[in-house]
């Protein structure tokens, strides 16, 4: 994305002298793939099992063991790549060497200069397009628990290691530094999460750490194009903390620069309770990892047939689903209810009810507000269409329709039967007209005000008359119809003067 992005100037950090600073953010998102087994061995890939029960010689790094690549992990990595409009390339695994007990081999197998997916993009709901630099395969590390001294790393006396997670397949998705506001960062992660779930690549749960987000944040004077020194923020446990951390970090960097200091390139940890970032280790240079091609694995070069099969099996992506639903229901693409319905995976139900003849706008309103996601599977779309038909025919008010729908969901019985049982019957408009005429006759002063008053006054009196009608009909009248009839009476009164 270029610096001419429409939202470029939307977020500015102001300095003490009124200087204006823009922020530049790139995100690195690690997602655990939804495979049955680990990346290079046949151990189960399961979250939450007893520690060290899903281990074997390969993922424990025992001498003589050899890795064999999981086909499904490659397939899911390609699905992610293609959903992000990346090019799939012949790729090579590399050893990233470092000494830390979370990897018993003392290296992590990753992809370095030849990643499987390159050059993609992700469009956010607001239209911002964020470039994707790469999305590569690698293995996850084991889990450290710092023990002793209160369990915090700075007081730790020793660490306990669980290798169940060591070797679990990950895809690391690296965005370009195209993000300009904390909101865009949040939207990017939310959109990516939905996409990953929709294509079945990952359950992408930040709270279970199956999706982990690091943010590279830098600042520069507004209107300039040179990138500032960045810091990498880790330990972001939620979309909310991502936004807070970016805001804090941008402020911190601006304060440094304004007092004539430099921003040091480093890794910083987000402290959720303190609402601040703290320095971690200094950023190691890539050469410290002494990357080299993994000699125990051959390259992965998916042929055209495999890539075509991946493309053919991709489901419709959330962005397209939102656009299609919005268009059909006559709402804007950015509509919150549309987004929510797609996120809850209820758009298929809405479309089915529309296909069965339900008015699209009313169908979506019910799906958005009156269909609990856990009960949606039990709702027959044809019955939802029937319900909407009764509503539009005037046989049910909106409130009654909601009541009937809840019962349809609970019992699976036809809406018309439920409406009849509850005595929700089509109100004869002539009866309603009679009622309204009686009320007008009984309140001549209010009526005169209603006919001749200004808009505000008439608005108030609309409430008064509707209330009277509701009282007389025990709430059975449709507010919209009452409104129409009142309007018609007023027009007639004015015409007769």
């Amino acid at each position: 994305m270029s610096d001419q992005s429409a939202t470029e100037a939307a977020y500015v950090v102001e300095g003490s002298e009124g200087d204006r600073w823009a922020i530049v953010v790139g995100l690195e998102v690690h997602v655990e793939l939804a495979t049955a087994t680990k990346l290079f061995c046949a151990c189960p890939n399961v979250f939450g099992d007893e520690p060290n029960t899903n281990v074997c010689p390969t993922c424990l790094g025992l001498p003589g063991s050899l890795p064999v690549l999981n086909r499904n992990a490659v397939e899911l990595a390609m699905r992610i790549g293609r959903a992000l409009r990346c090019t799939v390339e012949p790729s090579v695994f590399a050893r990233k060497n470092y000494f830390y007990p979370d990897m018993p081999k003392d290296y992590q197998v990753s992809q370095y200069d030849k990643p499987i997916n390159v050059d993609g993009e992700l469009a956010l709901p607001d239209g911002t397009v964020v470039g994707i630099e790469r999305a590569h395969l690698e293995e996850d590390t084991g889990k450290n628990t710092h023990a002793g001294g209160g369990g915090r790393i700075h007081d730790a006396d020793y660490s306990l290691i669980d290798y169940n997670r060591a070797g679990v397949p990950l895809v690391e998705i690296v965005s370009r530094p195209d993000i300009r506001t904390p909101d865009q960062a949040r939207a990017y992660v939310a959109e990516l999460r939905q996409l990953l779930v929709a294509i079945g690549a990952s359950d992408a749960r930040m709270e279970e750490a199956s999706m982990r987000v690091d943010a590279n944040v830098s600042v520069r004077p507004e209107g300039t194009t040179e990138l500032g020194t960045r810091c990498e923020i880790k330990n972001l446990n939620s979309i909310r903390s991502l936004g807070r951390a970016i805001e804090y970090e941008a402020r911190r960097q601006v304060d440094l620069l304004e007092t004539g200091e430099r921003v040091r390139q480093e890794t910083r940890h987000w402290d959720e309770d303190g609402g601040r970032t703290r320095p971690g280790r200094s950023k190691e240079e890539a050469e410290d990892y002494r990357y080299f091609d993994e000699p125990d694995l051959v390259p992965v070069a998916p042929d055209e047939a495999w890539q075509a099969a991946v493309d053919a099996n991709l489901p419709e992506l959330p962005a397209s689903r939102r656009a299609r639903l919005a268009e059909r229901a006559g709402r804007p693409t950015t509509d919150g209810g549309v987004a929510l319905t797609v996120e809850r995976d209820l758009d298929a139900l809405a479309h089915a009810a529309m296909d069965a003849g339900g008015d699209p706008a009313r169908v979506l309103t019910h799906v958005e507000h009156n269909v609990p996601v856990e009960a949606a599977g039990g709702l027959d779309p044809a019955q939802l269409a029937d319900l909407v038909r009764l509503e539009l025919d005037g046989a049910l008010t909106a409130t009654q329709a909601k009541t009937v729908l809840a019962e349809v969901i609970a019992s699976g019985r036809p809406p018309a039967d439920i409406a009849a049982e509850r005595g929700f019957e089509a109100m004869d408009t002539s009866a309603l007209e009679g009622t309204i005429d009686e009320i007008i006759a009984a309140n001549p002063t209010e009526w005169d005000d209603y006919v001749h008053g200004d808009d505000a006054r008439r608005g108030k009196l609309t409430g008064f008359f509707t209330g009277q009608v509701m009282k007389a009909t025990k709430g059975q009248a449709d507010g919209k119809v009452v409104n129409q009839l009142l309007g018609a009476r007023r027009a007639a009164a004015l015409a007769g003067e």
Partner: protein, 100 residues
Amino acid sequence: MPTPISRDDVARVAQLARLTLTDDELDRFTGQLGAVLDHARDIEALDIDDVPPTAHPYPLVNVLRADEVGATLDRDEVLAQAPSAEDGRFRVPTILGQEP
């Protein structure tokens, strides 16, 4: 020709691997690693502009296995191999400041 690797380089690599080397060992390994790198220099002298880089000696790609669960090791047996264990996990010394 200058030496292909300095004593400081060797000390740095040893530090990354968390190895403590004596002065004698540093001298010895600097010499030995230098000999290995001298050999690499000999190969670098060859004209290989027309030879494409090879990731692997075998002309193989896509060696893959099906995503099917296999056998795992017994935890007690695994932990018995370690110097120290606690709560079903490996117990290791403090790792402050060494996080990758």
